[in-house]
Symmetry: D2
Subunit: 329 residues, 4 copies
C-alpha cells in the first residue's frame, strides 16, 4: 500500500485525492496546504493527517508526494522530497524557468527517486489509444501531427498576468502532446499569435489565439492551434497522418443524443469543464504512478519531459516575439 502525501488541497489536489481513492494499492496518508481550511476539509474526507508541508515530506507515513501547490513552490518541494528519498508526482509546469528545472533534475537524479511530470493528457484514453496504435505501427511512420486545443472561455485577466504567457501556460500541454506523438524531438519552432479575444491580453504582451509549427530532423511536422475561447465546449482534438493511414481523436461530447429538425442534425456540445473532460485521464495518470512505483517500472512522462516541453514553450514565446523560426538543439 503506497502512502501518499498531498501538497496542496485546492481543486487539483482534490482531483488527485479522488483518483487515489479509486486506485488499488494506494491511499492518502497526509495532506498539507498553505491555508488551514482546505487542508482540514480534505483531511476529513480522506481520513488523512493534516501536516505542515516539510513535515509531511519527511514523515515516515509518506512514501510519495503529490505536488499540487502553486508553480513557484515546486522547486523547493521537489528538492525537499528528493532529499527525503520520496517518489514525486509534480503538477506541470515543473517551473517557469528552464534553468531551475535543470537544478531539479540534478536533485532528482542524485536522489534516484521516481518522478512523474503530470502531463495528464497523455493518459486520456482517446489520446493514449492513438499513441498506442502509432507504436503498434498501424499508420506507419508519422508524417504530420495536427493538434487543435481551444479552451471554452478565457481565464481571468489576473491569471493571465502571472501565467507565463499562453505558450508556457496553455500550449505547453500541446507541445508535450506533440513530442508524445511525433516520436522525434522538434528541431525548429515557429509561432504566431494575436489577442483576438481580449485586447487587454495584447496590452500585457500576451496572446489568446496562437499557432505553432514544429519540425523534426527527419522532416516530420506538427501544427498546433490554440484559442482561449470556443463556444462549442472544450475543443481538444488530435490527428496524426502517417505513411499508411491517419488516426484522429475527436472531441468528447456531453452525450450521444442528436436532434434532427429543419436546422439539420445537431449533436450536443463538447464537454466544457477540463476536470470532467479529463476525469478518466487523471485517474489513469495516478494509476500509472502507483503502478510504476509498486512494480519498479520507468515512469513517463518524467522530469526530463517537463524540461523539454518548457524549452519548446520558451522557444515558441521567443519565435512569437521575434517573428522568426527558432532552432532547438
Amino acid at each position: 500500500m503506497l502512502k501518499i502525501g498531498l501538497l496542496g488541497c485546492g481543486r487539483i489536489g482534490q482531483v488527485h485525492a479522488r483518483s487515489i481513492a479509486q486506485t488499488e494499492g494506494a491511499r492518502v496518508s497526509a495532506v498539507a496546504d498553505a491555508f488551514g481550511e482546505p487542508a482540514r476539509m480534505l483531511g476529513n474526507k480522506t481520513g488523512a493527517k493534516v501536516m505542515e508541508p516539510i513535515a509531511l515530506i519527511e514523515s515516515a507515513d509518506v512514501d510519495a508526494v503529490v505536488i499540487g501547490t502553486p508553480t513557484d513552490t515546486h522547486y523547493k518541494f521537489i528538492h525537499a522530497a528528493a532529499a527525503a528519498g520520496k517518489a514525486i508526482f509534480c503538477e506541470k509546469p515543473v517551473d517557469l524557468s528552464a534553468d531551475r528545472i535543470r537544478d531539479c533534475i540534478k536533485a532528482v537524479e542524485a536522489a534516484g527517486v521516481p518522478f512523474l511530470t503530470a502531463f495528464n493528457r497523455r493518459f486520456d484514453p482517446n489520446f493514449a489509444n492513438v499513441h498506442a496504435r502509432i507504436a503498434a505501427g498501424e499508420i506507419g511512420d508519422v508524417e504530420i501531427v495536427t493538434i487543435q486545443s481551444r479552451d471554452p472561455s478565457p481565464p481571468p485577466i489576473g491569471y493571465v498576468k502571472s501565467s507565463g504567457g499562453l505558450f508556457r501556460d496553455m500550449m505547453i500541454h500541446d507541445l508535450d502532446m506533440a513530442r508524445f506523438l511525433l516520436g522525434e524531438e522538434p528541431v525548429s519552432v515557429y509561432a504566431v499569435g494575436a489577442a483576438l479575444v481580449d485586447a487587454e491580453v495584447g496590452r500585457l504582451g500576451d496572446v489568446d489565439t496562437a499557432a505553432v509549427t514544429l519540425s523534426t530532423s527527419s522532416g516530420r511536422i506538427c501544427q498546433i492551434t490554440n484559442s482561449r475561447r470556443a463556444s462549442y465546449g472544450y475543443d481538444q482534438r488530435i490527428e496524426v497522418h502517417g505513411a499508411k493511414g491517419m488516426l484522429r481523436a475527436e472531441n468528447v461530447l456531453e452525450n450521444t443524443v442528436e436532434i434532427a429538425n429543419s436546422a439539420g442534425f445537431t449533436k450536443s456540445p463538447a464537454q466544457h469543464f477540463f476536470l470532467e473532460r479529463y476525469e478518466a485521464a487523471y485517474r489513469a495518470e495516478m494509476a500509472h504512478f502507483v503502478d510504476c512505483i509498486a512494480n519498479s517500472k520507468p515512469i513517463e512522462p518524467g522530469i526530463e519531459d517537463g524540461l523539454r516541453a518548457q524549452l519548446l514553450a520558451d522557444a515558441a514565446t521567443r519565435s512569437f516575439q521575434t517573428a522568426e523560426a527558432i532552432s532547438i538543439c
Copy 2:
C-alpha cells in the same frame, strides 16, 4: 444503340430522358403524352419525334418503351408493348390490382420481352452497396432488417384519395427493399398505422404514419416505419443486422458542412427532394436496363417483383384494417 420511346413526358418522364442522355448506347427516339405541350417540350429537348402512344409502341424506330404514364394506363401499354415485342421499363406500381398484374405477367411472358419494374431505390449507390456486401457475405446470414422511410412533407389530399393508400403508394418501395435485403420471401405481414399528420387522411380510411413487421419462413425479420412528414428532409435509411455484423446506409445530407456553437454540432438537413435524393439511382436504373438488353442479361427487379411487392402492400393494408397478422403463401 437502343432506341427508346418514352410514354409520359411529365416529371418522371423527364427524369428518364435525362438519364438516357447520360447512358452510353441509348437515345430517346420518340415521346408521347396525353397532353400536347409536355410532349412537344421534351421532343424539342431530346430531338425525338412526338407520336401517339400506340403508334410509338409500334414504331420501327422504337426498341424499348419507358412507361411513365398514370398507373391506370400501365395495363394497356404493357399489353401493347408485349404484343409489339418491345422491351418494357415500367414505373411502379405495375398496377393497383394484383390480378391485373398477373394478366400483365402472362402477356410479358408469352411475348418473352425484357421487363423492368422501376423500383429505383434498389439502384441507389448506398443501398446497392449494402445489398452487394450482404451478397458477398460480409455480415453473414441476414437476421434483422430495419427500414426508416419518411417523406419530407405530405402529398396533397387529392393525391391521397387516388393513391391506393399509404401501404400501396409509399410503403411499396420499402416492401420491395425488404425483399431485396431479406433474401427470402416474407410469409407474414403485420401492420399498424394512424393519421397523426392530417386527420383528414384518417377520415378517408388511410394513414400517414405506419409500421410493418415482416417475417420469413426461416425466421428473418424486417421492421419498416413510414411517415408522411420529416422536418429534417427526406429520411431514407436502411440497416441490416446479420450473424457476423451490421450494415447501414445513412441519410444523404445536403452538404458535408458542420457548424459548432453553443447549440452543439449541427450538420445540414437530409436532401429534401426525391428527384435529387435518387438522381444517381435513376441513372443507374436506366443504365442497368440498357445494359441488360444490350447484353441479354436477366433484368432485376422484373415484373414478378412488381407483383410480389403489390401482394405485400395488399396484405399490409388488410392487416391494418383487421388488426391481425396476415399470412402470405
Copy 3:
C-alpha cells in the same frame, strides 16, 4: 444520512455498493447474502455489518433496502421490507408472475413505503436526455419510437432456461423504455421471433432474435428489435420521431478515435460490457432513489411500472406463441 442495507452481494450488489459510495447522503450500513464469502468481502470493502437477510431488513440501522437477490426471492423480501416500513430499491423484474407483483403492490401500498423498480436504462444520461427533451416539447407529439437493443453475446444456455424467455428477461428493459418514451400506454402488442443464434434456444421454446410492435390508443407506434448477439458491442440505440423533429441516442463507443486507411474510416466498437455501458446510469439511479427519499419526492419508475412492463412482456410472449396481436387493457 440514509443507511442502506444490501440484500445480495453478487455482481449487481457490488455495483450498487459502488454507486452508494459516490452518492452524497447515503452509506451502506449492512449487507446480506445467501453465501458467506461474498457478504464478507463486501462487508470488508464498505465497512458494513454482515447480517442475515431478515435481520438486516428489520435492523434499526437500516433505513432502506436494495434487493439484488435472485428474482424468486424478491416477493418475500418486498413483503418483509414493507412490513418493516423500509424504503425499497428492487432489481427488475419484480417477479416473473404478474399476480405476485400485484400482491407486492398491495403490501407496498398498505405500508406506504417508497419503492423503485430498477429499470436502470431510464437513468442513462443519453436516454434521460432524450426523455427530458421530449417532455420539453422539442420534437412535438411523439409519433414513432424505434428501439434497437442487442447483446454483445448470448448468455449460457442454463441461464436461458430459467430466464422466463427473451421477452421477459431481455426485452422487458425495452418495453419499459417504450412506455417511458411513448408517453402513453400501449394497447396492442405484436411479437415475432426466432432462434437464429443458437438452435438449442429454439428447442427450449425460446427465441434469441425478436421484434415487437406496440401501438397506443392515439396511434403512436413503437418498434423494438432484440438480438442475443452483436459483433460490434452492446448495441443500445433509441430513436423518437415526433411531429416537429427526431431525437436519437447513438451507441456509446469505446473511445473517440477513428483510423483512416484504404478500408475507410473506422471508429471503435461500442462498449461491450453492460456494467461499463450503464455505469453512469447505475450511479444516477441510486442518486435518484436517495434524493427522492431524502426530499420526499415521488419515485419513478415505481412498482406499478414494474407490473406494466411485466404485462407487456407476458403479452409479447403470448403474441409470439399464437402469432396474433394481443390487446392490452
Copy 4:
C-alpha cells in the same frame, strides 16, 4: 446563348465541355488542341468546329474562351483573347511567373474583358457553403483557418520536375482557399516541408509533405498541411474557427454505408479521384462564369486572385528554402 471556344481537349477540357452541356445559356462552339485526335473526338461529341487556337480565339463564332492548355501557353492565349475582346476562363495557375501574370493583368485590364481564374474549389458546394455562412456572420470574425489537403497518391516523378514545386503546383489551391476564407490578405508566410513519400522528390529540391502558416495584419491565422499521399482517399477538409463558433467541411465519402463488426464501425474511404470529388464544383464554376457574363456581374476569382495566390506560393517556396518567415507586402 454564350458561344464558348475550348483551348485544350485533354482531361480538363473534356470536364469543361461536360459542364457547359449542363449549363443553361451556353454551348461549345469550337475546340482546339495541339494534337489532332483529342480535338476531333471532342468536336464529334459536342458538335463543335475543330479549329487552330488563334483562329478559334478570333472566330466570330466564339464569345468566350476556356484555356485548358499547358501552363506555359496561357500567356500567349490570354494576350490573344484579350486582344480579340473575348471573355477568358483560364485554368490555374495563370503562369508560374508572377511578373508574367502582371503582364497578363495589364492586357486583360486594357481590353476590359471578363476573366476567371479557375480555382475550382471555391465552387465546391461544401466549401462555398462555409464561405457563404462566414459572410452571413454565423461564426463572427474569422480567427483560425485550418486546411488539410492531401492527394490520394503521388504524381509521376516526371510531372514533379516541371510542376514548379509542391507549393506552386498543389498548395496554390489551398493558398487561394486561405485567402477566400480569411477575408484578409496574409502578410507573412512560413513554410516547412520534406520528402517523406519519395526521396527522389527531395533530390529534385522539392517536397511531398509540407505545412504553411499564414497570418494577416489583424492577427488572423491559417494553417495548411499538404501530403502527396493519403491511403483513405482524396483528403480535402477545411475548418474555420471564429469568434462565435466554428464551421468545418468534412471529406466527401464514396457512399453513406457503414459496416459494424468486431473491428468497429467503418465508413467508406473518401472519393479518390479529383474529377469525381470536384465534379459539382466544376459545374458550378462554369455556371458562374456564364452567368456573370450574361448578366454583367463581376467575376470571382479574377486574374488578380491568380496573381495573389502565385505570390503566396512563391513566398512559401522561399520560406521553405531559407527556413525563414517571409513578409508579403
